[in-house]
């Protein structure tokens, strides 16, 4: 595997890891609000 190929793969992996981190963060926030709504603690 050439160095620039490896760099391309690493770049894609970094990009996907960043997006997964953002999505997981959003999911945690969403679960918090779902829990608040289900327990009747709306604000």
């Amino acid at each position: 595997m050439r160095a620039d190929d490896e760099e391309l793969i690493r770049g894609r992996q970094r990009q996907r890891a960043r997006i997964m981190a953002l999505l997981l963060g959003a999911f945690v926030i969403l679960m918090f609000f779902i829990t608040m709504a289900k327990t009747g603690l709306n604000w």
Binding site: I9, Q15, R16, I19, I34
Partner: protein, 297 residues
């Protein structure tokens, strides 16, 4: 040189796999089903229900493209999608689609209720297994029965908010069910050569252009009746009734030139292109009218 399939898929290709264009209409009709309920659910639960409908639609798009990669490669309209374009391998598309589908159903069940989750699961399985895998390659009536999958969102939106079925969302289901054939057949008339090249027995390929035009017009009549029905049945008010009547009359009026058109080449199919474009506007406007009727004083 690195093979494109050896690369991890780009997020833009994963997004394209969800068919965002189709998802917009699905999300909109689901949102309208949810906003038409007598008592709105808490915002977080309503938002999650719509998110789950969107993710479920994305799963359908991904699994459809996973299964039809070879067919997509033969059609101009779809040849540049991520799989036939060689930018993603099929296994990634399968994992993405299954993961998205399972996640959307579980989240729907946990956040709203399990009846909505079951309806979402049925709509995904219906689209992928019944329509894509079973009916589409086998029968010219594929879109008539398979179209039911796209009719679920307003029903799911309503059930997610209320926990039960009711006559209005069932009628909204019927409207989309009857709208799908004329909408899709209008498109399939002017991309007929694509379907013929891919060996898909869409109605214009299997039964001919004249028969398809007749079917488009005939289907537009019960569709118009179903669209107006909520008003005389007392499920909506006059705001919806008048809008639905005007929009549906215009639909039938645009289906008439399709019926009388004799052109067999896409260049002469202006009435079909006009009806296809109007059919998208029609569904958006009709469902917007359901919500307006519910909330306008």
């Amino acid at each position: 040189m690195t093979q494109p399939a050896a690369l991890p898929a780009d997020w833009r290709d994963l997004y394209a796999l969800t068919k965002p264009g189709v998802m917009r209409l699905v999300v909109f009709t689901g949102l309208c089903g949810l906003l038409a309920v007598p008592v709105l659910p808490p915002f977080a639960l309503g938002f999650t229900a719509i998110l789950c409908i969107a993710l479920g639609a994305g799963a359908c798009g991904a699994l459809n493209q996973w299964y039809e990669a070879d067919i997509d490669a033969k059609m101009r309209r779809t040849a540049k999608r991520p799989l036939p374009g060689g930018r993603m391998d099929r296994q990634s598309a399968l994992h993405f689609g299954v993961g998205l589908g399972v996640f959307s159903v579980l989240l729907m069940g946990l956040a709203t209720n399990w009846l909505a989750a079951v309806l979402l699961a049925v709509s995904i399985l219906f689209y992928v297994v019944v329509y894509t895998m079973w009916l589409k390659p086998r029968t010219a009536q594929n879109i008539v029965i398979g179209g039911a999958a796209g009719a679920f969102p307003p029903l799911i939106g309503w059930v997610a908010a209320t926990g039960q079925m009711a006559p209005l969302p069932l009628l909204l289901f019927a409207i989309i069910f009857l709208w799908t054939p004329p909408h899709f057949w209008a498109l399939s008339l002017f991309v007929r050569s694509d379907y013929a090249a891919a060996g898909i027995p869409m109605l214009p390929v299997a039964a001919g252009i004249a028969s398809t035009r007749r079917q488009i017009f005939l289907y537009s009549l019960p569709m118009a009746a179903a669209a107006i029905a909520p008003w005389p049945l007392g499920l909506t008010g006059a705001v919806y009734g008048i809008v639905a009547a005007v929009l549906s009359l215009a639909f039938v009026a645009l289906a008439l030139p399709v019926l009388t058109n004799r052109a067999s080449e896409p260049a002469g199919m202006k009435p079909e292109k006009r009806l296809f474009a109007y059919s998208i506007f029609y569904l958006f406007a009709l469902f917007a009218a359901v919500v307006a009727d519910r909330w306008l004083p």
